[in-house]
Symmetry: C2
Subunit: 346 residues, 2 copies
Amino acid sequence: MLNFSEQPHKRKNLLTGEYILVSPHRSKRPWQGQVEDLAPDDRPQYDPKCYLCPGNARADGTINPDYKDSFVFVNDFSALLEDSSLDTFNEDNLLQAEAERGICKVISFSPRHDLTLPQMSPTEIKAVVDLWQREFRELAEHDWIKYIQIFENKGSIMGCSNPHPHGQIWAQSSLPVEIQKESEQQAIYFQKNSRTLLQDYLALELKKDERIIVNNEHFVALVPFWAAWPYETMIISKRAVPSILEFTEAEKEDLAKTLQELTIRYDNIFKTSFPYSAGMHQAPVNSGDQPEWHWHMHFYPPLLRSATVKKFMVGYEMLANPQRDITPEQAADTLKQQATVHYKAQ
Amino acid sequence: MLNFSEQPHKRKNLLTGEYILVSPHRSKRPWQGQVEDLAPDDRPQYDPKCYLCPGNARADGTINPDYKDSFVFVNDFSALLEDSSLDTFNEDNLLQAEAERGICKVISFSPRHDLTLPQMSPTEIKAVVDLWQREFRELAEHDWIKYIQIFENKGSIMGCSNPHPHGQIWAQSSLPVEIQKESEQQAIYFQKNSRTLLQDYLALELKKDERIIVNNEHFVALVPFWAAWPYETMIISKRAVPSILEFTEAEKEDLAKTLQELTIRYDNIFKTSFPYSAGMHQAPVNSGDQPEWHWHMHFYPPLLRSATVKKFMVGYEMLANPQRDITPEQAADTLKQQATVHYKAQ
Ligand SMILES: O=P(O)(O)O[C@H]1O[C@H](CO)[C@@H](O)[C@H](O)[C@H]1O
Ligand SMILES: O=P(O)(O)O[C@H]1O[C@H](CO)[C@@H](O)[C@H](O)[C@H]1O
């Protein structure tokens, strides 16, 4: 019998088809490595120098409106451009390149500079979910757009350059690597079983009830069996739908509640604003029916031991294989023990 | 015509089969995000508290010998264990896991606590190469070991927990994800062309001479066309051999010189001890003949703009696709302009 909490082992990520390495005994090792600075956590409600606050000027001189909930605009430093022509390049099949077209947007989650998702109310978060849905619909109207990535980098440790609560959307003309992998694995499963992979996976997780963190009428947040990051989680919709487009009002309300509860639990672990990169994976758009695609959202948080010591995905992980120290079950236990009231509001 | 230095585009990584996204125009964006602390750079030649210095005690009480060049031992906090049994776990094909057996070693590159590879002489680096070759041979004698990852995490920003110059070797019972990808791509190419992929790629790069950084009798260091990290490079052996086992004395001397020159150029870019994760990719062992495998070594350095501002591979990169801001050609130009004498020795 494989002993998950003692023996080094590999687990298969069903969505990518790739394995991750788990070294449970290794969390005992001492740490003398890098310790992160804690970003000061006493921000004003309004910062005159912030390019996301209402009424302030952005890089190109545009003045933000006096918005009341969330607010969206095209990124002033977009990684993808809309007017790119679709040229290709090939030299002896050894140097291969293709132009990529896209639109990058920034979404401010709140007019308040001092908040983060876990400090917002379900109603306020619901306004963000509404905007995500609206943006997804409008971006998908460009027939050349094939994939829309909605995501958030939270915390300076995750490359976030402005603490004002915000996320991004990158919409593009081809499928990114991770989406190709998930499309392939989900399609293989659906062809064989006529149900989505995540439908069956979710049913098994609910039955076992070992890694479930949040469970409401329409959504579940859990630590996936194959989590690579220490406190990695995934939100899965109970209804098997390909994208946020399908969500009803009731579902959007539940998604907002799920996001609030999950991020409050995160903040409570180390009594700190818990950094992460998070984002939805959804069916490619303008690409025909894809009933195998099941909406879900990944959370990849880097912290491991404390508010200032993270997991480094470096040498072995970059060159060979993602590796983790604590088990997904230990992480799930810690998340389950947290209060659902934010530590700052207690 | 695709304009590499103006247009967002994707480039194909021939070794993994996966694309990376290049956003050349994006390097102009301002940065108000995280700035790294510079680790103090005035270390003593000997540190009584360092577990890698000669004569000092390690975590388990063992006393290090009074070694004169490099020195190897089994990691006191190994991620893989030698005595693990090879159990498997499967629940409805939805939860899949396998035990993994392995040996993790630490290699001190020098008795001197204050040095790094670029500050060592080719003769001193050659002693490290000799030890890598010897360790590879000895580890491969265990018939259950299938892959041997030799690597170095340099700098606290890369999760290195001790500044004493050192690297690691993780040897294991199955093939890691990145090695599976490279095995597959190299095998497809070899079957079709009867030459290794890197042989033909190297010939084309030498002909074009746009991304070549070091070129001596036996090795080339270049910025690969598909580099993802800002100053990513790759060392390729001119002779198509599957592993370090095949290297002659003359080749090992040239590899030492290549490592010295490349890492000196790195340190000179920002006049700082340039952090990176680096490691060799080699043919799996105890797995039969693999003439498609061509020895090479990757360098993944995180710095982008200065000694303290790195590239963050976060939200979009983790969820969708690796993305870079400067082009590989711009990075190659910067590396080519550097002096081959270390800035501290100038
Ligand atoms: O083995 P070390 O130096 O303690 O640890 C370092 O390298 C390992 C292998 O890349 C990583 O798993 C760790 O996260 C990192 O801190
Ligand atoms: O777009 P931002 O917030 O300026 O930048 C941040 O997110 C991007 C998308 O994940 C990354 O490419 C950048 O490295 C990171 O700093």
